[in-house]
Subunit: 337 residues, 2 copies
C-alpha cells in the first residue's frame, strides 16, 4: 500500500515526519511511502539514513499550509503546498492513504473537495478513537470538524462509526450512543431529539444517550455528537485536569512535602488520562466518509506518532475502510447532506 506523508505542518517539522516514515517502512514490508514536501528539506533528513529506496519516493512541494491559514483559502490558494498536493494525489488515485499533522480545518476542506466523499456521504467527519478506562477503543465522531450538524449527519456518523469499529478494529457488534446532557430520551437540544429518532431506526445497536461523564467508561463503542459539542466536551476534560493541577499547586505554596508528592502523582495520573484521550495512541484521527484513507496525526507529533499513524493508515487502506463506509451508508436512504 502507498501512503503519502504530508511532511509539513507538525511542530517538530520535517525531521519528525521523515524519521517516522522510515520507521514505518522498516516495520512493514508491504508499505510504500511518498514523502510530500520541500524536496531539499526532505533530502537533508534522509541523508545518511538506511532505508529501502525502492519503496520510498519524494513528491516536491512549495509553501506549506500553516495553522494561521483560513481553511478554504489555504486549499484554494496554496495548490503547491504539501497538504494540497498529497490530497490531490490521493484523490487522483496516486496513492492509498494520506497522513498529515497539518491545519485540521484545511485538511477537512481538502478532504471534501480533493479526495471527495463516498456515495451517500456529503461531508467527511473527523473521528477520534480514544481508549476507555476499561482499555477498549471508543470512537467519537465528530470531534470538531463539523460544528453545525443536521440530524442526518449524526445518523451517518453512527453508521460509519459502527462500520469502522467492525472493519478496522474487529469489534463485532459495536454499541452506539448519542452524546447528550442527560440519559433520558427527553434530554438534549432540538438537534439531539431529531437525531435520537433517526438513530432508533438504525440497524446498529443504539443504546440511547450517554453523558459527557460517560465518555471514558467504555459503555458505548461509538459516541456520536456534533463537532461543536464534541470539541467542547474534550476541552472541558482538559480544563478540569488543569483546574486540579492549579489547586494542588496552590496547596504546595501553603503546604509541605506531602503536597509535592501529590503534585507529582497527580501529574502522572493526568498524563495517563490524557494519553487515553489522545487518538495518537491508536494511530491518529480518521476522516470517515472520504473516498481514500486520510489520517490526522497531532500537531505535536513525534517520529513515533508518525510511525503509528503511517502504519495505521496502511492497515486502514488494506482493509478498504472507504469502501466499508460506502457499503454501510448504502443500507440507508438518509444522506448526511
Amino acid at each position: 500500500m502507498k501512503v503519502i506523508v504530508d511532511c509539513h505542518g507538525a511542530d517538530l517539522g520535517v525531521p519528525a515526519a521523515v524519521e517516522g516514515a522510515l520507521l514505518a517502512l522498516s516495520g512493514s514490508p508491504t508499505l510504500e511511502v511518498v514523502l510530500c514536501g520541500r524536496r531539499e528539506e526532505i533530502k537533508a533528513c534522509l541523508d545518511g539514513k538506511n532505508y529501502d529506496s525502492a519503496r520510498l519516493s519524494i513528491a516536491d512541494a512549495g509553501e506549506p499550509v500553516t495553522n494561521d491559514d483560513t481553511p478554504t483559502v489555504a486549499v484554494r490558494r496554496k495548490k503547491d503546498s504539501s497538504m494540497v498536493r498529497a490530497l490531490t494525489m490521493l484523490g487522483e488515485g496516486g496513492g492509498d492513504a494520506v497522513v498529515s499533522a497539518g491545519n485540521t480545518g484545511a485538511l477537512l476542506v481538502g478532504v471534501n473537495i480533493l479526495v471527495k466523499c463516498v456515495k451517500g456521504v456529503k461531508r467527511a467527519t473527523m473521528a477520534s478513537v480514544v481508549t476507555s478506562l476499561k482499555g477498549t477503543p471508543t470512537l467519537i465522531a465528530d470531534m470538531g470538524a463539523n460544528v453545525d450538524c443536521k440530524p442526518e449527519m449524526l445518523f451517518a456518523f453512527a453508521v460509519m462509526g459502527s462500520e469502522y469499529m467492525r472493519r478496522a478494529l474487529d469489534v463485532d457488534s459495536p454499541k452506539v450512543a448519542l452524546l447528550s446532557n442527560g440519559r433520558e430520551k427527553e434530554k438534549g437540544n432540538a438537534l439531539n431529539h431529531a437525531a435520537y429518532e433517526l438513530l432508533e431506526k438504525g440497524t446498529f445497536d443504539f443504546i440511547g444517550n450517554v453523558e459527557p461523564t460517560d465518555l471514558m467508561t467504555g459503555e458505548a463503542d461509538v459516541i456520536v455528537t456534533d463537532g461543536f459539542a464534541g470539541n467542547m466536551t474534550i476541552k472541558a476534560y482538559e480544563g478540569m485536569g488543569k483546574a486540579m493541577m492549579s489547586v494542588i499547586k496552590e496547596g504546595i505554596m501553603s503546604g509541605g512535602v506531602k503536597s509535592k508528592l501529590g503534585y507529582l502523582l497527580l501529574k502522572d495520573v493526568l498524563r495517563q488520562v490524557k494519553k487515553k484521550l489522545s487518538a495518537d495512541e491508536v494511530g491518529g484521527a480518521v476522516f470517515l466518509g472520504a473516498r481514500g484513507v486520510v489520517v490526522k496525526t497531532h500537531g505535536a507529533s513525534t517520529a513515533e506518532s508518525y510511525r503509528k499513524s503511517v502504519l495505521n493508515a496502511e492497515e486502514l487502506a488494506k482493509r478498504n475502510i472507504p469502501k466499508a463506509m460506502e457499503e454501510g451508508m448504502a443500507k440507508y436512504e438518509y444522506s448526511n447532506d
Copy 2:
C-alpha cells in the same frame, strides 16, 4: 423581606429545608419565612425548636413535584404542590423570593408561567455563580434550563449577567465572554457566530470567546452559553474528575502505599474543585429575568445549603435584582424571544 421556602424536593427532605430556614431566620432580623409544604411534616420538624414565630408561617401544600415529573405536566397538574404554590404566591405578590431544591425543569416552567418575566425578557435563564481559581465569582448562564437558544437569548444572558454581577455582587465592570470551542472569533457554531456579532454591540465589556478550559480561570466574570453547551461543559468537568479517580484507584490495585496517599490527596483536590464549581457555595443558582427572586438550591442540599440560599434570596430581593434585570434590558431593542 419575605422568602417562601419550597420544603419538598431535596434528597434530605423537609427536615433540611425547615432547619435551614430556622438558621436563616436567626441570622437575619429582617427576614420573614413562609414554609411551603405538607403542614404536618413541617410542624413535626418545628416541634421543640426555638424561633421567632412572628416571622414564620406555614403555607399548606399537597403532593409534591418529584424529579420524575415532566416539567410542563408537573406545573399544570400539580397545582397543589409546594413548588407550584410557592411560585404562584410569589407571582401574586405574596412574597419577595422563592427558594427551591426541586425539579429544575419544572422550576423553570413554573418561573416562566407563574412568576413571569420582566419586560424585554421572554424566558428566564438559570445562572450559576461559580468560584474561579483566583477566588473571584464567575457567573455562567445558561446552565441547562434553555437547551435551544437564539442569538438574542445569549445577548440577553450577557446583559442580565453583567447587571447581576454589578448589582448583586458589586463587581464594577464585569468582563463578559462567549463560551466557544476556540478563542478566535471564527470558532464556534452558527449560533455562536450570530451571538458574537450581537455581543460586540453591547455596552458591557465583551472580551470575546473563552474555551471550556478557561471556565475557572476568572478571566471572564460572566460567561454566556446556550444551556446545552453549558450543561455539557459542567458534566465533562465532572467526567474528568471521575476518570482521574478511576485511574488512581487502578494504580492502588497494582501499587502500594504511595498510591493510597495519592488517592486521598486527589480526592481532596477533587472535592475542592467541585466546591468551587458548585453554585451552592454562594447561595444557589438564580433564575435571571423573572419578575421575582427565585433561587435554586441543589437537590443534595443540607440545612446549611438552605440557610445560605435563603439568606442569598433575601439579599437579592433587598437589592431588587428583578428590577435591575428589567433596567438592563430596557437599554436594548433586542428581546430574547
